[in-house]
């Protein structure tokens, strides 16, 4: 069997280091003029795909992103890391607000079929909406086996042996190819997309598509009612003496009086 064809999803999200601000009307978060980058979990998935390629297990790595035109930059980063080509499924910014995991999963499933993909690698979740659904849905739509929260991926004959992170331990599963896998934090340490590689990535091919090309209509299946800031932590208090502290603790019933 020749090398695997790997499809990697790369979502463009607000950079992990940015302080998130909620819009005053509570419909979402402020994204204008905010630094964006590739979803860190997708970066890990991309790194894994490239490592598979370096071990000659994978023959081609395709990066795909679904979103506004700025996603091109995310895909350039992916190609600078080592992806061979990219597919941008362009959605205009207004419609993008309505895009939900199900739509992305449908698009990914279609792309996987069209490109004869053997392995779909995604991040386990995006750090903006924390849905943790796309991988699972894609697997379901394709009727492929899924290995989520991977912390180790090994290729055996026609199968993948995946160590998954589960509550309180690890679980090892084998999945037949083709399959869908989602990356957890400890799968690997992603490499940095260096400046020369970014320049070289500009020469790599990038296809532009529309959701309609894959027969997907962006109609939201669930509604966001409101987006709110997490509760702020209450400020602490400084006390002068130990007696004050003991008093306070007794008042709160934290120590027997």
């Amino acid at each position: 069997m020749s090398g695997l064809r790997v499809l990697v999803g790369c979502k463009r999200v607000i950079d992990y280091a940015v302080k998130i601000r909620v819009k005053p009307d509570k419909t979402g978060v402020v994204t204008d003029g905010v630094k964006h980058s590739m979803n860190p979990f997708d970066e890990i998935a991309m790194e894994e795909a490239i490592r598979l390629k370096e071990k000659s297990i994978a023959s081609e790595v395709i990066a795909v992103s679904c979103g506004p035109p700025q996603c091109q930059e995310t895909l350039r980063t992916a190609m600078a890391m080592g992806a061979d080509k990219a597919i941008l499924v362009e959605v205009d910014p207004a419609t993008y607000e309505k895009v939900q995991p199900l739509h992305v999963a449908k698009i990914l499933a279609k792309i996987a079929q069209e490109n004869k993909i053997d392995l779909v690698l995604l991040g386990k979740q995006a750090i903006d909406d924390d849905c943790n659904q796309t991988g699972q849905m894609t697997a379901a739509l394709l009727d492929w086996p899924q290995a989520t929260f991977a912390s180790k991926i090994e290729k055996t004959d026609g199968e993948l042996k995946v160590v998954k992170e589960i509550d309180g331990g690890l679980e090892t599963v084998t999945v037949k190819l083709p399959a869908v896998a989602t990356a957890d934090l400890r799968l690997n340490e992603p490499r940095y997309a260096t400046l020369p590689n970014i320049m070289k990535a500009k020469k790599k091919p990038m296809d532009k598509k529309k959701p309609g090309d894959y027969g997907v209509e962006i109609v939201p299946t669930h509604k966001v009612i409101k987006v709110e800031d997490p509760p702020t932590r209450q400020a602490g208090q400084k006390l002068e003496t130990v007696d004050d502290l003991v008093h306070k603790l007794k008042d709160q019933g934290l120590i027997p009086s």
Binding site: Y16, A17, P40, I127, L185, E189, P190, Y192, T194, L195, P196
Partner: protein
């Protein structure tokens, strides 16, 4: 090797560092000023050997910065998504 022929290497190093500076925690402006000063401080160095040494140091810093960013990202995510683990 003459000092002049090392020029492209120095320029390349400067560009790489500037690019990396965009992600610097204290901000791009802080990083750029520091970087410029560091390069200006050595502008009169003409001994090729010494220039080579300085380039090597710059490349070391590039590696350190990449490692710093990776760790910072990893730690932030770990804190955010795996709060129970130490």
């Amino acid at each position: 090797m003459s000092a002049q022929s090392l020029r492209p290497k120095v320029v390349q190093l400067y560009k790489t560092l500037l690019y990396l500076g965009r992600d610097y925690p204290k901000g791009y402006d802080y990083f750029r000023t520091k970087l410029k000063n560091a390069f200006l401080k050595n502008k009169d160095v003409s001994d090729p050997k010494e220039i080579e040494m300085l380039i090597a140091r710059g490349e070391y810093i590039v590696k350190e910065l990449e490692a710093l960013y990776m760790l910072r990202k990893y730690r932030t995510l770990k804190k955010r998504y795996y709060p129970d683990e130490t």
